[in-house]
């Protein structure tokens, strides 16, 4: 069967690394390109980490492109308390020996999308800056991207503020540009990603594999693990693996069609993904699906199976 061509746009990122290493092993999909963006960490870290993680996954043939160093309008605010200063929770992995790409994310993504004639699925798992720039620079890219499976936002609640999620809050203007572009979107927000967790047994099992991927998992996750203990969350949410696993196995997820826009003007609501899922008022344009639930045991199993195979 023909594999689904997938582009991953990432601010790599501890959970981004899990998403990438899982993506490389999922049968139904083929990673055809990766681009880096500032978010969890600075762009140069994200770029290096994406390259190194892909290399660790044994796929130096997959090209990794550098992207935006800052959000469209807001000042960049990275998250070293979660992802460490290097973006991988201070874990060290070997440097990739792949040639360093100088083509920018938005150009490389556009070329690939055009080449694949509308078949490309893009999984942005960081702020949407690169995608917004690509749409602005190459307006016809909207005809070539099949769908955007995004990690970002929340229909209910938030994490960096009571009502905004990190990726969208980091660059709300880019997110709004993307959601207004007309490209179909499947939004994996906190509603589903907090249900997409690895529990203590899953974590112990992954670490027990003792391979290079599971070593990275162990060495990169400790800050998140400690933060999680502080707030008494029951599992390790694998946010960024959600849109990737969704791309390969959508049947494991549940969502609802709706309109989604990003609040860029609010005082306390900046970066909120505003949906009309439950309001009497409906947006005129409803080309999005908010993903709200996941089959967690199957989700965890796919990550474990991927890690075991390293």
């Amino acid at each position: 069967m023909k594999k689904i061509p997938v582009w991953i746009d990432t601010d790599t990122g501890v959970d981004d690394a899990v998403g990438i290493l899982t993506a490389l092993k999922l049968e139904p999909i083929e990673v055809v390109g990766v681009s880096a963006v500032a978010g969890n960490t600075y762009q140069n870290n994200a770029f290096r980490n994406a390259r190194d993680v892909i290399s660790l996954g044994g796929r130096e043939d997959i090209r990794v492109y550098p992207g935006a160093e800052r959000p469209l309008v807001k000042k960049l605010k990275v998250a070293p308390h979660v992802h460490g200063d290097n973006g991988l929770g201070e874990a060290e992995i070997p440097r990739s020996k792949a040639p360093i790409e100088t083509t920018k994310a938005w150009d490389a993504l556009y070329e690939k999308a055009k080449e694949l004639k509308g078949e490309l699925v893009v999984c942005p798992v960081g702020p949407l800056t690169n995608i917004a720039i690509a749409i602005t620079l190459h307006p016809d890219i909207v005809d070539y991207i099949k769908v955007l499976n995004i990690m970002g936002g929340a229909a209910i609640g938030g994490n960096v503020t009571p009502c905004a999620e990190f990726n969208i809050f980091t660059d709300p203007h880019a997110a709004q540009t993307v959601l207004k572009s007309g490209i179909p979107v499947n939004m994996c927000g906190l509603d589903v990603t907090l249900k997409a967790f690895l529990d203590d047994d899953d974590i112990a099992e992954i670490i027990s594999y003792g391979n290079k991927a599971s070593d990275l998992f162990r060495d990169s996750n400790h800050m998140i693990y400690e933060a999680r203990e502080r707030v008494h969350e029951s599992g390790l949410a694998e946010h960024d693996s959600c849109p990737i696993i969704f791309t390969a196995y959508p049947e494991l997820f549940e969502g609802q069609k709706c309109g989604i826009y990003v609040e860029t003007q609010g005082t306390i609501t900046q970066g909120k993904t505003v949906t009309d899922l439950w309001s009497d008022y409906k947006f005129p344009d409803r080309h999005c699906t908010f993903i709200l639930d996941v089959n967690q045991p199957e989700f965890a199993k796919l990550i474990k199976t991927a890690y075991k195979s390293y």
């Binding site: 009571p162 826009y261 609040e263 860029t264 609010g266 609501t269 505003v274 009309d276 309001s279 008022y281």
Partner: protein, 316 residues
């Protein structure tokens, strides 16, 4: 002889079918002593809702003068909802004409007078925009200590209705709501989270109609009218918003009430008037609001039925 200790209340609203039903519930409750009715622009213009309030007071034999508020919100242009409530703001059954004159006091002045004169703390039941309540709190902050609580219908933690982000009452006057939520006064919020679950089905109000007393018949006819627009939005029952603000203080045990810090968005392209809760408590101060988020629908309907049954033999 033992006398039932009555809880003094002020009814502040913009009737409006669901305000009217809320007031029928309040007037039927032995536990409540209605000290004043004040009106606020919202569901319809101030003149129309004030006329409606005076007609409802006559219908319910309330021996009080209605006091009207300002004809518009603090800063916003007025939004009205004739699609739900009709041209009069209370279309449907014929009501008696007002039998008391309109008060010379403005709504906030009337509230202040009641608070000042009351020996006991007073509960304000606010079922419209919070313009009057905010004006009173701003003008007479020293009277805050005379307020037992403000029980409001407004907002929605999960969703809006008039816009994707905001519920009608808060959207009409977000700056007023902001003042109320930051006032430090004990606040209970019946938002869409609960009021969109407070569904009264046609068979429920047929049961009420069959009580065959004048008030029950009027209530059933209000439901008939209100449901015309509500059903066109896809609802299988009437979203009985404002009565939640009364029943949640009379019978809190049938409601699920959670304490959160809630703030009001004043700006925003999509979120002006949104009520934003800090569910995890990680981002803000102590909770400022008791948020009513769920209810036992069957019991809610039973209390509504029971209240209507108390008007047996009522003369209109």
């Amino acid at each position: 002889m033992d006398k039932i200790r009555k809880r003094p209340v002020i009814l502040d609203g913009d009737p409006g079918h669901d305000d009217a039903i809320a007031w029928v519930l309040a007037a039927a409750a032995d536990e409540l002593d209605i000290k004043a009715i004040t009106t606020v622009a919202g569901n319809q213009t101030l003149e129309k809702v004030t006329y409606n309030a005076r007609r409802i007071a006559a219908l319910l034999h309330l021996d009080i003068e209605v006091a009207k508020g300002r004809n518009r919100p603090l800063c916003s242009e007025l939004i009205i909802a004739p699609n739900f409530h009709g041209e009069t703001g209370l279309d449907g059954p014929v009501l008696p004409e007002p039998d008391h004159k309109l008060s010379d006091l403005s709504a906030p002045e009337m509230m202040a007078k009641v608070l000042r004169e009351s020996e006991e703390k007073v509960t304000i039941i606010s079922t419209g925009a919070q313009t009057n309540v905010a004006a009173m709190l701003l003008a007479y902050p020293e009277l805050k200590e005379k307020i037992e609580m403000i029980s409001t219908m407004g907002g929605g933690l999960r969703n809006g209705n008039w816009t994707a982000g905001a519920e009608f009452n808060i959207l009409v006057d977000p700056e007023a709501a902001y003042n109320v939520y930051h006032s430090g006064v004990k606040l209970q919020m019946c938002g869409l989270d609960v009021t969109e679950k407070a569904l009264v089905y046609p068979e429920d109000w047929e049961r009420i109609r069959s009580l065959n007393n004048p008030i029950a018949k009027v209530v059933a006819e209000w439901f008939d009218f209100f449901f015309i627009h509500v059903s066109s939005l896809g609802w299988s029952g009437a979203t009985t918003h404002d009565p939640c603000a009364v029943l949640s203080i009379l019978h809190p045990e049938i409601f699920d009430i959670r304490d959160y810090y809630v703030d009001i968005e004043l700006n925003g392209e999509y979120t002006r008037g949104a009520t934003i809760a800090d569910y995890t408590g990680r981002h803000s101060n102590e909770p400022n609001c008791a948020c009513v988020v769920d209810l036992d629908r069957e019991k809610f309907v039973d209390y509504l039925y029971e209240a209507c049954s108390r008007y047996e033999g009522w003369e209109v």
